[in-house]
């Protein structure tokens, strides 16, 4: 029975979602919790069971068709991300919990998305991946446009059309690969590629097209334009989910596809370092300019995604980037949940109009401070471990090291700006009654501390790699952090606070849809030129 667990991960949320939608009862939320408990128990049993096989992965062919069926693969990478997914969905379900009412339609889409996303993380078949990517895109569009305000709907359309264009580009790559290798099974294609001489144009073009599609999904430069819109207007629970997890789906696919193409030996590390750096700098720059709290956090996600890509391509394995994926999901979720509470209490999203948070909601303030310390990389927090891993990987190349340092300063400036809401006189606010919302904040804050302090043992057990090189208990760690924050504060004080004309112009900067697609085509052409000519 246990060997069918991969399918059950996918099916249980989907079936529960449909039952919730059909019954439409007041107890829908409890049903969702019940399903989530079953999935969690299954996941724990299954992953403990297959833990010895984590390196090579356990493959489960659906329908028992050996070579031509659809395989689901679970190795260490999938296991980590599946566990993270289940955890984040727990947090979202608790955050949205109201004892007397339930929103069946919202729960339907939420749980369906969980099943689909768990499928995306496990499947090892290219067309199945395409189906899951499109399904994720559609459900996320509906969740973003859920409130049906003008801004939500336009963000939804933008997201849907741009992401569909990217995924269709991915599909062309799949077409080329199928006719070259006679299969769309990712493992078989990798085997086939080992027997093939390098330098074939078909394989190169397929790689380029698939990478371009993945870049849209992972919001890399220059096709990130959908992210600030979509994550900035969705409701906080949805934003936490999107920023924390769905965008990481694109990064997961980045790792998997590069793994599949590894026999062809494309020199992607340098190219994607600059893409990651451009993404991080853009996010950093725009985050500082924003007054809308959610858009600020969305641009901060962009920065961290850039750092994750830099981490992934700077080492031989994906350890540095993967750790930051997990940690970022934790503290970005925390920040978005806190932002949701703040917005509902102060009835505005403009951070210049919110002040006196310390006095009106001290508990939420403390958790939010923990989140901000984590994201800027304070010692004793999980953010420090992952950021230090990434910067240590770049230590040999001073130019790159200082570029990332610059990114961290910009990020610090944005959060210094955000922290201004803690001080000052208490402005008009409504009392906060929904205590269930504090629970996710507390749990995630605790997790941030735990991951920050016990990083060595946890790193060994959960991820299987050696993070002992990073030590937060040294003086240099603290000194580096204080210097970063100091520079960030100076940057904020002299450039941002006066709110000059340049800052205002940059705040209003938007990428139109045609420009986004134009940039997408240029990006594909540049990728082709780089990988097929050089």
């Amino acid at each position: 029975m246990m060997e069918h667990a991969p399918i059950l991960f996918i099916l249980i949320p989907v079936i529960t979602a449909i039952i919730i939608y059909v019954l439409r009862s007041r107890w829908s939320h409890y049903l969702a919790f019940f399903a989530q408990i079953i999935v969690t128990v299954l996941a724990v049993i299954y992953y403990v069971d297959i833990a010895p096989h984590f390196v090579s992965g356990v493959i489960y062919f659906i329908g028992d068709w050996d070579v031509i069926g659809i395989p689901l693969m679970n190795d260490r990478l999938s296991a980590v991300l599946v566990s993270l997914t289940i955890f984040v969905w727990w947090m979202v379900l608790i955050y949205k919990f109201r004892p007397k009412e339930a929103e069946p339609t919202f729960l339907f889409f939420l749980l369906f998305l969980e099943g689909v996303f768990l499928g995306l993380l496990q499947t090892s078949d290219l067309f199945n991946l395409f189906v899951f990517m499109e399904l994720t895109t559609i459900i996320v569009t509906i969740l973003v446009a859920f409130k049906k305000m003008g801004s939500s709907i336009r963000a939804g359309v933008y997201y849907l059309l741009l992401n569909t264009a990217g995924v269709l580009m991915f599909l062309i790559g799949v077409v080329l690969l199928y006719y070259t290798f006679g299969t769309i099974n990712m493992l078989e294609i990798r085997n086939g590629m080992e027997g093939l001489a390098p330098g074939h144009t078909v394989v190169g073009l397929a790689y380029v097209l698939m990478m371009a599609g993945i870049s849209v999904k992972a919001a890399l430069f220059p096709v990130f334009a959908w992210l600030p819109r979509a994550h900035g207007v969705a409701q906080s629970a949805v934003s936490a989910l999107l920023s924390g997890l769905i965008v990481k789906g694109g990064i997961y696919l980045f790792i998997r596809l590069n793994g599949m193409f590894s026999p062809a030996d494309f020199d992607y590390m340098d190219f994607f370092f600059f893409v990651g750096l451009a993404t991080a700098l853009t996010g950093s720059l725009f985050a500082m300019m924003q007054k809308n709290i959610k858009v600020l956090l969305a641009y901060s996600t962009l920065t961290q995604v850039g750092l994750i890509i830099i981490g992934l391509v700077s080492l031989d394995d994906y350890s540095a980037g993967l750790l930051h994926v997990v940690h970022h999901a934790l503290f970005k979720g925390l920040l978005f949940f806190a932002a949701g509470i703040i917005v509902s209490v102060y009835r505005t999203k403009d951070i210049t109009k919110i002040s006196g948070l310390m006095r009106s909601m001290p508990i939420v303030s403390i958790f939010m401070i923990i989140g901000m310390l984590a994201i800027t990389g304070a010692p004793f927090m999980n953010g420090y471990i992952s950021k230090a891993l990434i910067t240590d990987a770049l230590y040999d190349d001073p130019l790159r090291y200082y570029a990332v340092f610059l990114v961290n300063i910009g990020s610090a400036a944005a959060f210094v700006k955000l922290s201004m809401i803690f001080f000052g006189p208490k402005t008009l606010s409504y009392p906060h009654k929904n205590y269930a919302q504090i629970v996710p904040l507390a749990v995630i804050s605790l997790a941030c501390f735990v991951f920050g302090i016990f990083h060595e043992s946890l790193g060994e057990i959960l991820f299987g790699f050696d993070v002992s090189a990073v030590d937060p208990f040294t003086f240099t760690a603290l000194a580096t952090y204080i210097v970063t924050i100091a520079f960030g504060f100076l940057l904020y004080h002299h450039l941002i606070r006066p709110d000059r004309k340049g800052v205002r112009r940059l705040r209003r900067f938007t990428v139109t849809f045609e420009t986004a697609n134009y940039l997408f085509v240029i990006y594909v052409a540049v990728l082709t030129g780089f990988f097929l000519l050089l």
């Binding site: 559609i138 509906i142 269709l168 199928y178 849809f513």
Partner: protein, 111 residues
């Protein structure tokens, strides 16, 4: 020759996406891209010729059936994406009174 022509269709779709100022045009460009990809996939399957993939005992070589099955799925996916985006366009028109990208993206938050 056929696969190259279908790829031109796909490129036309991307050109349209990068230059259309109207939301409905963008939606149809996505449809064009998807149709182009479907034709591309099916055409490449016909490389060595053969009969239809139904075993009536007539042909001794068939066209590859896997692309055909995958493309049925793709057609369904494409039509649902189109339906959803058109419904969103209708709502956008009700909210903003226009279906031009420039007008819609520039307005500040309108409820």
């Amino acid at each position: 020759m056929n696969p190259i022509l279908t790829f031109i269709v796909v490129l036309i779709g991307f050109y349209g996406l990068a230059t259309s100022k109207n939301i409905i045009k963008s939606v149809f460009c996505v449809t064009i891209i998807e149709s182009g990809i479907i034709l591309l996939f099916l055409n490449l399957g016909n490389f060595q010729g053969g009969g239809i993939p139904i075993l009536n005992g007539e042909a001794d070589a068939i066209v590859d059936p896997l692309p055909q099955a995958l493309m049925i799925t793709t057609i369904v996916i494409g039509s649902t994406v189109t339906a959803l985006s058109l419904m969103l366009c209708i709502k956008l028109f009700h909210r903003y009174g226009s279906i031009e990208w420039a007008q819609i993206l520039r307005r500040e938050d309108v409820e």
